[in-house]
Each structure stands twice: as C-alpha cells, then as structure tokens.
C-alpha cells in the first residue's frame, strides 16, 4: 500500500492569476485545498513611514500608488483626514468634482476587475472590451491632472484645478485617420463635461455588452456559482467591506450610511447579493458600474450649472494662484512657505474612511502639530479580505482559488503598502 501524503504547492508570486505578487502556499490533498497560506509583503514599500518624513501634501502622490487601480479614492481618504484635522471644508463644487471622479474611479476599478477576473477564468474577450472604456476614462484623468493614472488631483481644501474647457483630441497619425479619427473625436469637441455626458449615455449599453458575455455564460456560471461562499457572519468576523460585504446581503455602503463629499445629494441604489458567492459579487459589481454611471450623470449636470471656486481661499493650506503670487508679496511668501515647509496640522488624531471600489479605505492620521504626519496608517480593504483566504477556500478545488483571488479584487499596492 502506497503512503499518501498531502502535497504543498507554491502558487505565485510569478503567476498570471496571482494579480501581482501574491505568493500562496497551498497544502493539497489531491485537487482539494487543505490549507492556504498567503504570503504578502513582496511589494512592501513602507509608504506609511515615508509619509512621516515628508510634509503632508507631498504624500498625496503616494496614495495613488497604494491601490493603483482606484487612485483618486485613496487620495480622497487622505485629504479628508487632513481637512478634518485642520478644520477646513472644500467648496461645494470641489465636493461634486470629487464625487464625480470617485465614481469614474469606481468604474475604472470595476472594469479592470471584470476584465482580469474573466481572463483568469478563461474568458479573454471581456478584458479587451473593458480596456476600451478604461481608456476613455483615463483620458478624463489626464485632462484634469495631466497624468493618466497617478493624478495627485485632490488636495486638502479642494482639488488642484477646475475642470478643463476643452477635451484633448486625437491627432491624425498612421493609426488614426479619416473616418476613424472623426469617430474618435466625436465626443471630444466640447469640454470634459460634454465628453463625460456622451460617455455616460453610451456606457449603459457597454455594461449590457459585458453582461451578454458573462451573465448567462455556462462556463462562467460553472466557475462562479456556489464558489467561495461568504456568510454574513463570516463577512463581519473578517472585517469585510464593499462588494464583499454587499455580496453577502448586508446593506452597508459608506456613501449612504456615512455620506461624505456630495453623496448625500445624489441619487443611487446599492445592489445586494443573496448567496455571497463569486457570482453574486460579480452581479453586485456590474450593477455598481451602472449606479456609478448614474452618479456621474447627476454630477455632470450639477457641475455644468454651478460654476464656482474649487479650492478654499486659505493660503495657509492652499497655494495662491500664479498670477496673484507674482503680484503680491504676501502671496509670494505664502507660496514659498507652502511648498518648502508645508503647513502645520493641529495636534490630534482622526480616522477618515471612504467607500473605495474595493471596500472601506481608511486613513488613521496622528499629528503632533508638526508639518509632517506623526503616524499615518492606511487601512486597506484588500488586506482584510485576503486574510480570510484560508477560511474561505478550504475544501475548495485548486481552480476555485483563482476564482476567489479574482473576486477578492486584490491589488498588492494597497495590501503591501
């Protein structure tokens, strides 16, 4: 009689379905997982310690690089923490701009997720379609901030600058010419808001397109229905948030429950799952894209009607305009002090959380009154989710681990920090 032993395999860190640098040590009994031990930290950069050595504003850019597919939501949590400690509030137009870009970010994130999750489970085409729309939205990022991904657009006291009046257009090249070029630039004749209006009108149909590829797809359902079931009790115990929590049927969304920015003034619904499996979470995220689109439409409408300042007029935290700086000695001094030394934040501590696409993204900020944070703690949703891996996948088959990693929507920038 041959002796049968459990087999330990190493999944990642160089594995296309490991979403970056997840090293997963799996103890297998045949094809069945007996124990899963995720090893994280391969992307640890010490963001929190780096932030302690820099003035507050210089760390905004680090926030983009945490969860690098939902950049502006991370910034939002950070600038809100600073605003709370300093005791300032961004003008209402800035609040709407933030709301709009948070939702653009949510769509960006969910598109990335739907594409890569489908790719992991064997559906190549979704990835290509999802990236088509991602490109349009990243153009919006670029139009307001100059950077496609790491925008550093939100600042304590508002946003860096107002929305541009002109949307950049494609120029003629070997790849884009004639009717093709005309079609590409069709939405880009007016301002950024005109572009987004056209995009939103079109996007509902695009979401339907993704759904035709997956929702009733037999293979997709076989891979996701009944896989990775998270009960509501488990969801609480493991500190889950976002779609992981809502997929298990718990109606909890910070945008509704603890509204920030302009979320109290826009109309949207919170989709919920019933069974808490991978398929439910898929449906939740797809519906969230439609709801985000709805929010963007409302924000566009409001922003078109209501011009105004996008930054507080407090030169202790926000820089004066270039024009003013060159005219006025006082403004010049403010500008100089702000960009060399920064501003001092009153001593105290605060926790500010936003509903990031992946769940609750929180910043715990301790200040001792200096121009640099004393302690910055980033509470990343993916970190809490991934820690439940062992309990959720135990007893599943090896291919289900891939489905589970996909549905966790892990990004190692935020988990390893």
């Amino acid at each position: 009689m041959q002796e049968i032993r459990n087999y330990t395999i190493n999944f990642g860190p160089q594995h296309p379905a490991a979403h970056g640098v997840l090293r997963l040590v799996l103890e297998m009994d045949g094809e069945t997982i007996m124990r899963a031990d995720p090893h994280v930290g391969l992307l640890h950069r010490g963001t929190e310690k780096l932030a302690e050595s820099k003035p507050f504003n210089q760390s905004i850019g680090y926030m983009d690089r945490l969860d690098y597919v939902s950049m502006m939501c991370n910034e939002h949590a950070y600038v809100r923490a600073i605003e709370k400690l300093v005791g300032i509030e961004a003008p209402v137009r800035a609040q709407y701009i933030r709301t709009m870009f948070d939702e653009i970010t949510r769509i960006l994130n969910h598109l990335m997720w739907i594409g890569s999750n489908a790719l992991d489970l064997g559906a190549m085409a979704v990835f290509l379609y999802a990236f088509r729309e991602r490109e349009e939205l990243m153009d919006c990022y670029e139009a307001v901030s100059g950077a496609r991904m790491h925008a550093t657009y939100y600042r304590p006291g508002g946003v860096y600058r107002d929305l541009p009046d002109r949307m950049p257009q494609y120029r003629e090249s070997r790849w884009h010419k004639g009717g093709d070029l005309k079609r590409l630039n069709e939405w880009r004749e007016g301002s950024l808001l005109d572009f987004l209006e056209a995009f939103c009108k079109d996007f509902y149909g695009k979401v339907d397109e993704y759904e035709t590829l997956l929702t009733d797809n037999r293979i997709w359902k076989q891979r996701t229905v009944g896989i990775g079931v998270v009960t509501p009790e488990q969801a609480h115990a493991w500190g889950m948030s976002g779609p992981m929590l809502r997929g298990s049927g718990i109606a909890w969304d910070l945008r509704k429950k603890q509204p920030y920015a302009a979320y109290a003034d826009v109309d949207f619904d919170i989709p919920l799952g019933t069974k808490g499996d991978c398929y439910d979470r898929y449906l939740v995220r797809v519906e969230e894209m439609r709801q985000s689109n709805r929010i963007i439409e409302q924000c566009v409408k409001w922003l078109k009607a209501n011009p105004g300042p996008v930054m507080v007029q407090n030169y202790k935290v926000a820089p004066p305009s270039r024009e003013e700086m060159k005219d006025d000695m006082e403004a010049l001094i403010h500008h100089f002090k702000l960009f060399t030394e920064g501003y001092c934040v009153p001593a105290g501590e605060t926790y500010s959380a936003v509903e990031a696409p992946k769940g609750e993204f929180g910043i715990y900020l301790v200040s001792d009154g200096a121009n640099k944070p004393f302690r910055l703690k980033v509470r990343a949703p993916g970190f809490a989710h991934l820690s439940s891996m062992d309990e959720i996948v135990r007893g599943h088959m090896l291919p289900d681990v891939v489905a589970m990693i996909g549905t966790y929507d892990v990004v190692f920038g935020e988990i390893d920090r």
Partner: protein
C-alpha cells in the same frame, strides 16, 4: 449619529466600564476610549456583544510608537544663527543611519495599540487605545478570539513595531522580507533601512550588504505656534493627561 440620544457614546462607555478603568473622550465627532492592557479583552468582549454597543467589526488594528512625539528639528520661537539649511541636525525620522540610531532611554509608555471598531447596527465608530506597559517588550492580549479578522493586522503591528500579541495563533512577520531584522516602523529605525540586497555575479547568489545611501530628508520638522493652533495645544495636554 449619536446626537439624538440622551447621552453620548463617551458618557455611556464611562458609565458602563467605570471612570477609573477607562477614559472616553470625544473630539471632532470621534470617540476615543483609552484603557489599560489588563482590561483589554473584557472591554472588547462587552463592546462586541452588548446590545448598547454592538461593534461587530474590527476595522483596523495598528501600532503607534509615541517616541519623539512633539519633537522638532527647527526652532520657531527663537532667532537662530543658521539659515534654512538642508543640513539640519536632528534625529527626526530619516536623518540617521542604523549605527547612529538614537539610544532610547526608557520612555514611559512608548507603544500603543489602536483599534478602530465599527458598529453596523448603530452606524457608529469607536477608537480604542491602550499603551503597552513594558517598553522593552511591549505585550498586548490578542483579539483574534473575538475578531478573527484582526489576525493579519496584529501580525502587521508585530512585524512593524515589535508588539507581541499574547494568544495570537500565528504571530509571524507579514510585510517585511523573510529573515528581516528589526521593526522598521519604530521611530528609532532609520528611514533608509539597515541592509540592501543585490545579486552578486561572482558568488552567484543574492547578498545582503549595509546600506550605501546617505540619510537625507530635505524638509525639517517644525511645529508652528500660531494662534491657529491653540486648539492643538489643548489637544496635546489632553493626550498627556490620557496617557497617564
């Protein structure tokens, strides 16, 4: 949140646990509960299970190192003979190497564990903090039996601050490299680190060497004593009082 209730969460916490066991404060709409490590588990048990609190989720657990709290590198109240120089002397974060790290004299209650709780039932948040008794070996009871989800958060606090969680089932390092020495987020750990790695072509393996870069932080750490920060002063006094 709790405005429409007859008493605030802070008052209810004090009433439940007694003023000598805990100190509950409310600032900027956030409630903080300071307590002693010996009450740690009992208080969390009550906070999770009692209907008036019902904090179902432990959102976040983190360590804080209060060494050098309130210290600056640049005098803002006196006239100095130096200009705004890049070579500010000081031991702020990022300004020293491993060999010249500050020798820490025993400091009262240097490490703290901060837990953020969330009650979905009452839509309320609470911050709970306790200072570790011993600086040389900071110990705190583990919350993993109450909230399984804090497992990794406690591992992280152990990894980065060296806080030992008693009763934790699997207290390994989590974020740093395999075989890492030291606890990198402590204030006496240099920002540039201790060792660097590279592949050595001769030895045909990855080797560790002492860091070759210089510590360099451009902006000095200052605390401005403006009238705007009177509130800050009050806060610092509060904290000192709570830490006692």
């Amino acid at each position: 949140m709790s405005e429409n209730l007859p008493d605030t969460l802070a008052q209810r916490l004090t009433a439940r646990f007694g003023a000598d066991a805990v100190a509950a404060t409310e600032r900027r709409g956030e409630t903080t509960l300071d307590l002693l490590p010996q009450n740690w588990l009992a208080v969390f048990q009550a906070l999770r299970d009692e209907a008036q609190f019902r904090f179902e989720q432990a959102v976040d657990v983190c360590g804080v190192d209060y060494l050098s709290y309130g210290q600056t590198e640049w005098d803002t109240t006196d006239v100095s003979s130096q200009g705004f120089s890049r070579g500010v002397e000081g031991q702020g974060p990022g300004r020293f190497r491993w060999s010249e790290r500050p020798r820490v004299t025993p400091h009262e209650k240097r490490f703290a564990v901060v837990v953020h709780l969330l009650s979905l039932t009452h839509n309320r948040r609470l911050r709970v903090r306790a200072y570790c008794v011993d600086d040389a070996l900071p110990i705190m009871p583990s919350l993993t039996a109450l909230y399984p989800g804090v497992n990794w958060f406690e591992r992280e606090a152990f990894d980065l601050y060296g806080i030992v969680f008693e009763g934790h089932p699997d207290l390994r390092r989590i974020l740093t490299d395999y075989g890492f020495v030291g606890h990198p987020f402590r204030k006496d750990f240099p920002l540039i680190g201790n060792v660097e790695v590279r592949y050595d072509a001769e030895k045909q393996r990855v080797i560790y060497e002492p860091v070759s870069i210089d510590p360099r932080v451009l902006v000095p750490r200052v605390i401005r004593d403006d009238s705007r920060y009177e509130q800050a002063q009050a806060e610092a006094t509060n904290r000192a009082a709570a830490g006692k």
